[in-house]
């Protein structure tokens, strides 16, 4: 305790220099925490979007995730209703949603466009997708209407000049390879914030799609869980219960999430590395000057029986004191920034390939704070070691003669 007290007094010996090192350390810490917190917010948001889109765990026929289909529903899943009850019994499962992926042409009588569709259980699907699917016009459709109802992507709706209440025709290839058509009523216009999808998207009742494709199969069964973190565990249980099926987690299917995460990890990893170097230089400079100024003092302490390692320990305490104070101030700045951003309502511009922006928010992660604080203190200690190790081993006579 005494040594730490002496170290703190030594830190205050040259207040301006110590303050400068502390400020640099604080800014570096805050930058890493705010940047890292923003990355964590992005990961969390994208994870939820991805999981809500695909389901936390997705089950398909053995070849469904591997190869292309020669005919629609070639790798479809039969007996979905029976599987539904079995899967619903797994721990943590909130809902089991059958889905059919299909494609074809949509026509308004004057012109046609390619669509990529999804047959869903509407009363469940719109609920689990949550805010990521916005109805820009109209409202969600329901099941079992006499004329099948659909929701259209907003850009496809504009192309088809379709508003809620408009009639359109969907054409698709059946499971037997023939063309089939069904008249549908536009009930809503949606946006998922991705122009490429909004230009092609058609959502309709799964029963209508089965009728159009002449099948009773579904493409996949999506399990929605209470906790996204349980995805891998539930996937293992599902695979064990149904070994004849292929099972994927949302992470296996989230190509965009993984690409963004890899990109951000590199960007923020680079930022972290730069901050490490800046803090290391700032601390090395501050402590290096302190060591140079105190060479004679080091010689005195060595003469009266202080081991070199004890001299280094004293400087380590000084480095740790500055590093800890800088980290604490940096954490306070980052915490205040996180708090302020939560109320500021700042919107980020849409990222590439997206049509809508997202709020600028920063996650508070105790683990990130603890890891960053520990790293800053370790870097400071390392700088102190490098700054003092040589001086502590300098010949005592040379150190005492130092001017």
């Amino acid at each position: 305790m005494k040594w730490l007290l002496f170290a703190c007094r030594n830190v205050l010996r040259n207040r301006r220099r110590s303050l400068m090192a502390l400020a640099i350390t604080a800014v570096g810490t805050a930058a890493v925490l705010v940047g890292g917190g923003f990355a964590l917010f992005t990961y969390d948001s994208l994870r939820e979007v991805s999981a809500r889109d695909s389901g936390h765990v997705v089950l398909g026929a053995r070849d469904f995730f591997e190869g292309d289909e020669d005919l629609p529903m070639q790798h479809g899943l039969a007996g979905a209703a029976a599987l539904d009850a079995q899967l619903r019994a797994l721990p943590g499962v909130r809902a089991v949603l059958p889905r059919i992926q299909f494609s074809g042409l949509v026509s308004n009588g004057d012109k046609s466009a390619i669509f990529i569709g999804s047959g869903v259980v509407p009363e469940l699907d719109f609920r689990v997708r949550g805010p990521q699917m916005k109805f820009v016009e109209g409202e969600p459709f329901g099941p079992g209407s006499a004329v099948p109802e659909i929701a259209l992507g907003k850009d496809l709706a504009r192309l088809m000049k379709a508003k809620p209440g408009a009639s359109l025709t969907l054409l698709a290839t059946t499971t037997e390879g023939n063309l089939n058509a069904v008249d549908v009523l536009v009930r809503g216009v949606v946006s998922v914030g991705v122009p490429d999808i909004d230009r092609r998207l058609v959502l309709t009742d799964i029963a209508a799609v089965q009728k159009l494709l002449l099948t009773d199969k579904v493409s996949t069964l999506s399990l929605y869980l209470k906790d996204t973190g349980e995805s891998a565990a539930v996937a293992s249980l599902a695979q064990a219960a149904l070994p004849q099926l292929a099972v994927r987690t949302w992470l296996d299917l989230a190509v965009f999430y993984q690409a963004v995460r890899e990109l951000y990890n590199r960007i923020f990893g680079m930022l972290g590395a730069i901050m490490v170097i800046i803090v290391l230089f700032a601390m090395s400079n501050t402590l290096g000057m302190a060591v140079a100024e105190r060479t004679r003092e080091i010689g005195t302490l060595r003469a009266i029986g202080t081991h070199p390692a004890e001299i280094v320990r004293n400087f380590l305490f000084e480095g740790i004191a500055i590093g800890a104070a800088g980290a604490a101030v940096g954490m306070a700045i980052a915490g205040a920034t996180t708090f302020a951003l939560a109320f500021a309502g700042i919107q980020m511009p849409p990222p590439p390939g997206r049509s809508s922006g997202y709020p600028l928010l920063v996650n508070f992660s105790p683990l990130l704070y603890a890891a960053t604080g520990a790293a800053v203190i370790a870097i400071s200690a390392l700088a102190a070691y490098f700054a003092s190790a040589k001086a502590a081993r300098k010949p005592i006579t040379d150190a005492l003669a130092h001017v």
Binding site: R9, E297, I304, G305, E310
Partner: protein, 235 residues
């Protein structure tokens, strides 16, 4: 048993391109409680000899004994430990640690030795009282006069009850009156505690308080050994 014994020690330095013989086979012995003055002109080898006596430098040849033990083959770590336990230092410029107050400066050697807190406190206050600074223990060195700082340095050197004190021009930065007080204090304390002292000095008045005086010229003892009047007083 002598506290310190040097036999035929030699030391040379390389200055520029040439070798300078700082000590040319010097031998000294200092008994416990004895105070030895080293005098001589600048460059005569006083500081070099003092460094060898204090184990902060190693001779090229010759042997050194501390309390009867030859220490020439000791590792640097063991020498540090020996200095920590058995040797005290007093410097011309006091060399107190500026962030430590007088009490803490005196406490430092005891912290190194791991002395228990209660024992440490007792010894420090006794020592500060003995050097006349009991009232000023909480003052930082900057707030002390030169004489007071040197008293703290003497207390720091003696608080651990060493066998030997090395003092390099301890009155060099003090006015005459203060210098006399410091010399007398050092003399009293070393004598009453049976501590050997080797003091490098130019100060004639200081040598008068020492038991013996050695004069160094060009790294060799000259004029033999001279006894100071204090030797007679002591007996």
């Amino acid at each position: 048993m002598n506290a310190l014994c040097l036999k035929a020690v030699r030391k040379s330095y390389r200055v520029g391109g040439s070798q300078v013989q700082a000590l040319r086979g010097v031998s000294i012995e200092v008994a416990a409680g004895e105070m030895l003055a080293l005098t001589g002109p600048s460059g005569s080898g006083k500081s070099t000899l003092l460094n060898l006596c204090g184990l902060v430098d190693a001779p090229d040849a010759g042997t050194r004994e501390i309390e009867g033990t030859v220490v020439d083959r000791y590792s640097p770590s063991r020498l540090t430990q020996l200095r920590r336990e058995r040797i005290g230092f007093v410097f011309q410029s006091f060399n107190l640690v500026p962030v430590m107050n007088a009490y803490e400066n005196v406490e430092y050697p005891l912290l190194l030795l791991g002395t228990a807190a209660a024992e440490r406190k007792k010894r420090i206050w006794e020592m500060l009282d003995r050097v006349g600074l009991a009232e000023l223990g909480r003052r930082l060195p900057d707030a002390l006069s030169g004489g007071q700082r040197q008293r703290v340095a003497i207390a720091r050197a003696l608080v651990k009850s060493p066998a030997l004190v090395i003092a390099d021009e301890p009155t060099g930065n003090l006015d005459s009156a203060t210098a006399m007080q410091i010399v007398e204090l050092l003399r009293e304390l070393t004598r009453e505690r049976g501590v050997a002292a080797v003091i490098a000095t130019h100060d004639e008045r200081m040598t008068r308080h020492c038991d013996r005086m050695l004069r160094l010229v060009d790294g060799e003892m000259r004029d033999g050994e001279m006894r100071g009047p204090a030797q007679g007083e002591a007996r």
